[in-house]
Homo-oligomer: 263 residues x 2
């Protein structure tokens, strides 16, 4: 991250992008797409984020393509964040943790996104496995989709989103930057202040999706996350991926976004 900056590039083989890249809407097409992004981003960014749903859409063959993508990332020196948004309880949550964070799992990534509808504490098996295997998790906190408020903003001064952020702070106590991260939408606007959410105190790496196609500009990022710029992992997907399948064009698009994020 120090060498390349914080930008995380999504690997999102959407059906529409596959068509734009003249690839079939199949597990083979998804794999070709993903390996092209890996080739383009190797030596350009530190971190890539495969969107698991777009692999899972093709069943076990799609998941096998994801396994080979993750292996290719490791080979290419890219850190991986599996955007899986998994969440369950007890031994079932432990099984998801095993899948995404255990050293010898074929789906092992450097970090995974988790969803806390069953309570932040239900994610415990993943938090522990991440800490012990030197990996990370990013827990959904405050998202910028219009429907998110109906769950995340509930509770007034003690909103659901604020509780998640505060539980994350407890988790990261004693670290400058802990292994328990948060997902905070880049387009949440004034909601952080309105809900009294203190991201700085969380000591959490903050994954901020929404740059580019979803509407957030680098200026928006500065406005929302200026005080926690050192914790920020902005992600961009479609805006960069639209420049494929040409590897040099993908790389140039990522470089452009990186430039826009520099101090």
């Amino acid at each position: 991250m120090r060498q390349y900056g914080p930008l995380c590039v999504g690997i999102d083989p959407h059906p529409g992008l596959l068509a734009d890249w003249s690839l079939p809407d199949s597990a083979a097409g998804v794999e070709r797409f993903a390996l092209t992004v890996v080739e383009a981003m190797a030596g350009q960014v530190a971190l890539v984020k495969p969107q698991v749903a777009l692999f899972e859409r093709h069943g076990s063959a799609g998941m096998a393509a994801l396994e080979r993508t993750l292996a290719a990332c490791t080979e290419a020196g890219l850190l991986t964040l599996a955007d899986a948004k998994r969440g369950d309880i007890g031994s079932t949550m432990a099984a998801y943790a095993d899948a995404w964070l255990r050293d010898d799992s074929p789906l092992a990534a450097d970090a995974v996104t988790l969803s806390p509808y069953l309570g932040f504490g239900s994610l415990r098996p993943a938090l522990e496995l991440a800490a012990s295997s030197g990996r990370g998790v990013f827990v959904l906190g405050l998202t910028s989709n219009p429907e998110g408020a109906s769950v995340q903003h509930v509770g007034g001064a003690a909103s659901v989103a604020r509780r998640i952020v505060e539980a994350t702070a407890v988790e990261n106590e004693g670290s400058v930057l802990g292994s328990t991260g948060l997902v905070i939408g880049a387009t949440v606007g004034p909601a952080l202040r309105e809900l009294g959410i203190d991201l700085e105190a969380s000591h959490a790496p903050i994954l901020a999706p929404g740059l580019g196609a979803q509407g957030a500009t680098p200026a928006d990022l500065r406005a929302v996350f200026g005080s926690v710029w050192d914790q920020l992992v902005p992600t961009s997907s479609r805006d960069i991926l639209a420049h494929g399948p040409d590897v040099a064009s993908l790389r140039a698009a990522a470089a452009g976004v990186q430039d826009s994020l520099r101090d």
Copy 2:
């Protein structure tokens, strides 16, 4: 369901149960376990619920075992509910819907569980695909794990859980029993009343995990769900699966639970 009653039997190939059944902790072990449950439950119950995490734990090979399990269920006349707890937004949610609810997907099930941290409305692509493909979804509402309250009970008289149940009611308007179901823990005790949640008005099939090993008795189910007994899909996993790998013993265990649920 009419012929066999509402009991849903979990297909939960936990590492501990695999060992008890003298099966390896591998994709092959998981598949052998799952196909044994299918053989035992065919002609005994209407519905089985594979726990996706326990397949995913073995990567794409585990997901291939799940695909063959789902196919075997269809062959055996068993309805399937994939317990995946997926949830995301926009075209990513549409991809999850495609994976679990689209007719020609290798992972297609008769229903899937969904997690609404990103808002009930974020699940729209799955609600629509379920309705159009004659399948169903079960949205997490109120769970009985101790950590669940920290999200689901937030909001007082307009709690998160109540909002999910009310959104489900809107979804099912005009149906006696709609295609949008709810997951409500069998051990939630007085929380339904305390939170002012009206399950009857939801017209939702209600998946109630927790019978048996998790602590709920048939009497608890009557106490919590008496007024919505006709909507209820009680599920039992470990208590029944502990009787394997003998097929006759598994079948007898399911029959015993079915008897305990009869009027």
